[in-house]
């Protein structure tokens, strides 16, 4: 646990600084009210009305996020394997080839179904 205490110290320092900066931001500058200035910026045209609670966004981004989770978990499995590789010997190699092949099946499927294309 002692290993993590210094990170906490730095976290307190960084969070203190960030909260302080964001907190004093409204008070250090001038205040000149202007209706147009408080609108969303859309290059000068009337801002598009945005639905409360956020609007819709392209599904593509969600697919990317899902793929990210799949591959990120794969990486998480690769790390301990890499660290223990010398102890595992040939067994480790066989296991990881099988694992990567399994992931590659999903990867190839996504590729073929154009899940990785962007147009």
């Amino acid at each position: 646990m002692e290993l993590y205490v210094p990170i906490l110290v730095l976290a307190v320092l960084a969070a203190g600084f960030a909260v302080f900066s964001v907190g004093i931001a409204p008070f250090t500058g001038p205040k000149r009210w202007n209706r147009a200035k408080l609108d969303g910026y859309e290059c000068g045209i009337e801002p598009t009305p945005q639905p409360v609670g956020g609007g819709r966004f392209p599904l593509k981004y969600m697919i990317t996020a899902m793929l990210f989770i799949v591959f990120d978990i794969e990486i998480i499995f690769l790390y301990p394997w890499a660290v223990a590789f010398d102890k595992l010997g040939v067994f480790g190699l066989v296991e990881m080839v099988l694992f990567i092949v399994t992931v590659l099946v999903a990867y190839a499927y996504v590729w073929r179904r154009r899940g990785l294309d962007w147009d």
Binding site: L3, Y4, P6, I7, V9, L10, A11, A14, A15, F17, A18, S21, V22, I24, A25, P26, T28, G29, K31, K37, L38, D39, G40, Y41, C43, P47, T48, Q50, G54, F57, P58, Y61, T64, A65, L67, F68, F71, D72, I75, L78, Y79, A82, V83, A84, F85, D86, G89, V90, L93, V94, M96, V97, I100, L104, Y107, A108, W111, L116, W118, D119
Partner: protein, 455 residues
């Protein structure tokens, strides 16, 4: 075989951490904080100055000697600007986002080693805030949390540019994070640990490789030993920090300023700017730690006995950091921004499969070496696996290639058909296209055109 690398006795290992009294931790944390703040001020100035020189300009040269105080002046100016809270924003998310993006950026630096054991006010302690058995994971985790800042800033702004910029930036960062995470695997395979101080220790000496009675000295930096990993990491670190050529979130021609469009030029915006530069320093520091020998002196300097002791290594670390940062700027001056679909395709279709293939290759070679030295009976097994992997990879590649080739040909035929149609009837497809053979304007009759640059 690769001999068991003996760590330099001066280099700290995981066992040396967690023994600091609290006040030493506070001093170190303060140092990192101040170092990063000054680093950002210096970095902004250095980037502007260097890129100016590359473009035959002077760059900032008014505030202070050589314009050194330029970024201080910029920071002060940001504090004195009006802080606009647009009417439509989601106030909580909008205000929290700069904090969420800035804090993790700082935290990543807690595991970057600056140097060996030194005596600090009578306490023997490593020049590194702390080290964990999973140190590199901390960096990846923090960069993932930083993504929340980006996506929340865009989402909380509730403006089309900001939302699109936030989404794009998020998709890009997470895509390149996968390739980045994969590029570390080969390093961990060789180092056998995730602790940064021990990875630096493993790069202390390359050892020798006995080949037919000849002792060939091996390079000690993983950047040389594992070149493909290093190259992939260099690419992903540009993508991960949204730097040129992957700075699409700031594609001002399309998205104004991306996810921080709605943040006026106040201290909130300064947090985004700060986080961006701190992230650049973090990935540079990680590149130095994992691939470029960490704080250890490079070859000609390392001949001097005292090079890797005391406070000197901090200097080598800073020099390396400045050089890696200069590389970022050099890339920015050299390369144009790439298109978004190319960016995603490159990340998913090139970097990831290449990375996986490279990992399997490294693992097979490593297993072969281990098998030779420890249990010679299993060498054929490894060779069979290697053959299966190579054949399988080739099979997948060729199968893929035919499918994609067919697809590309279909697309090209479609385009060719469209062009033919356009040749026959320029307004086909609904766009009024001016004829391409219209006479060009060459000035009013008789008046000579004046070339630019003359009076």
């Amino acid at each position: 075989m690769i001999p068991n690398l003996v760590a330099d006795p001066a280099g700290p290992t995981l066992a040396d951490f967690g023994k600091d009294p609290l006040w030493i931790s506070i001093i170190k944390a303060l140092f990192i904080f101040v170092f990063l703040m000054l680093g950002v001020l210096f970095g902004v100035w250095f980037e502007r100055k260097l890129i100016s020189r590359m473009q035959h300009r002077y760059g900032p040269n008014r505030a202070g000697k050589f314009g050194l105080l330029q970024s201080v002046a910029d920071g002060l100016k940001m504090g004195l600007k009006e802080d606009i809270l647009p009417r439509v924003v989601d106030k909580v998310v909008y205000i929290l986002a700069p904090v969420i993006i800035a804090v993790p950026a700082f935290l990543s630096y807690s595991i970057i080693p600056f140097g060996p054991m030194v005596s600090m006010f009578g306490v023997r302690t490593p020049l590194q805030l702390t080290d964990l058995p999973v140190a590199v994971l901390l960096v990846l985790a923090m960069s993932s949390i930083g993504v929340y800042g980006i996506v929340l800033a865009g989402w909380g702004s509730r403006s089309p540019y900001a939302v699109l910029g936030g989404l794009r930036s998020t998709a890009q960062v997470i895509s390149y994070e996968i390739a980045m995470g994969l590029s570390f695997v080969a390093v961990f395979l060789f180092a056998g640990t995730l602790s940064t101080s021990e990875i630096v220790a493993k790069q202390a000496s390359g050892g020798t490789w006995s080949l037919g009675g000849l002792d060939i000295p091996l390079p000690s930096w993983y950047a040389i030993l594992l070149i493909p990993s290093f190259l992939i990491y260099v690419i992903t670190m540009l993508g991960e920090t949204n730097r040129v050529p992957f700075d699409l979130p700031e594609g001002e021609g399309e998205l104004v300023a991306g996810y921080h469009t709605e943040y006026s030029s106040s201290l909130k915006f300064a947090m985004f700017q700060l986080a961006e530069y701190v992230n650049v320093f973090t990935v540079s520091g990680l590149a130095i730690t994992l691939f470029l020998g960490g704080w250890r002196a490079p070859w000609p300097i390392s001949l001097w006995d005292g090079a890797n002791t005391g406070w000197w290594p901090m200097l080598w670390f800073f020099v390396k950091l400045v050089l890696v940062f200069a590389f970022f700027i050099w890339v920015r001056a050299s390369l144009p921004r790439i298109r978004y679909d190319q960016l995603m395709a490159f990340g998913w279709k090139v970097l990831i499969p290449l990375n996986l293939a490279w990992i399997l290759l490294v693992a097979t070679v490593r297993a072969l070496q281990n098998a030779r030295s420890e249990q010679p009976g299993s060498v054929p097994v490894v060779l069979v696996i290697a053959a299966i992997v190579v054949i399988g990879a080739l099979a997948i590649y060729f199968r893929f290639d035919t499918v994609n080739q067919r697809r590309r040909e279909a697309k090209a035929a479609e385009v060719a058909a469209d062009m033919e149609l356009l040749d026959a009837e320029p307004t086909a497809g609904g766009f009024p296209v001016p004829a391409l053979d219209l006479p060009h304007y060459h000035g009013v009759n008789g008046r000579k055109e004046v070339p630019s640059g003359t009076n």
